[in-house]
């Protein structure tokens, strides 16, 4: 009896029921589309955030490596400078030694000194 009255009501108002059903269907479909778009937006946002984090990490890594390279460079320069200073000191000592040798040769072995002058400058000795 109850089903019969429902069926009778539906048959009588089938157009209105069809319109309501259609509107409900369209509304549900729109909601689903909106949810899909929202999910796409969330994914895009999350990926952008991850990209920013990754870029910051890469940048910090690069800075650390550059800093390390600069430290290595400074250390190498310091070592070079020290080595150069040491070599210069050795050369100065060698010069002092030679000067003493030549001064000694002046009084002890003039011929050797003369040969040194000739070898160094190519000057001609005159008696």
């Amino acid at each position: 009896m109850k089903w019969a009255s429902v069926l009778q009501f539906a048959l009588k108002n089938w157009r209105e029921i069809l319109v309501v059903l259609s509107l409900s269907l369209v509304s549900i479909k729109m909601r689903m589309d909106y949810n899909a778009l929202h999910k796409a937006y969330e994914i895009s946002k999350q990926e952008t955030r991850e990209r920013i984090d990754a870029l910051q990490y890469i940048h910090s890594e690069e800075l650390a490596r550059r800093e390390h390279a600069l430290d290595t460079y400074k250390k190498a320069l310091r070592e070079l400078r020290e080595s150069y200073e040491q070599s210069k000191e050795e050369l100065e000592r060698e010069k002092e030694k030679r000067i003493r040798t030549y001064e000694r040769l002046f009084s002890q072995d003039k011929e050797a000194l003369s040969n040194e002058i000739i070898d160094t400058y190519g000057f001609e000795p005159v008696e």
């Binding site: 589309d33 796409a40 895009s44 990754a54 600069l70 050369l91 030679r98 000067i99 003493r100």
Partner: protein
């Protein structure tokens, strides 16, 4: 006492010789020399000889130092460029992978969207129009 004075003089004399940088004078022709020229004392002669003999070594030392310095600078430049290059490669890879992931995720998300099918919508429109027209006709006809 004399011995002490002699020792002191001897020490002074040695220190004077050690600090002596050399002396020179000009000589004219036949002025105790066969030609005019410059007379250097032993210290000056020793300095002149030594400077000439060590100038090349000194120059080589300085040259090597400067070249090594330049080499170190270039190595730093090269290292910086390598670091930058590797960072850019890492950045590029990361971006590509991230964009691929994003594109896949977006494609999956958008698959659930209503498909864009113009023919279907035209058909739906036509059918809807007919239905509404028919409905209106029936409604007003009643």
């Amino acid at each position: 006492m004399r011995l002490l004075i002699l020792m002191a003089l001897s020490l002074w004399s040695n220190s004077a010789t050690a600090d002596d940088t050399g002396k020179f004078t000009f000589l004219g022709q036949n002025q105790c020399a066969p030609f005019e020229g410059v007379l250097f004392d032993p210290a000056a002669t020793a300095h002149i000889l030594t400077e000439a003999q060590t100038a090349k070594i000194n120059c080589d030392l300085y040259l090597n130092y400067e070249l090594n310095k330049q080499k170190t600078e270039y190595e730093l430049d090269l290292q910086n460029l390598t670091i930058r290059h590797e960072s850019l490669i890492a950045e590029y890879d990361m971006r590509v992978q991230s964009l691929e992931r994003e594109a896949d995720a977006l494609a999956n998300a958008l698959k659930k969207q209503t498909k864009r099918n113009p023919a279907l919508w035209v058909a739906v429109g036509v059918v809807g129009g007919i239905a509404i027209t028919y409905g209106a006709y029936e409604a007003f006809n009643e």
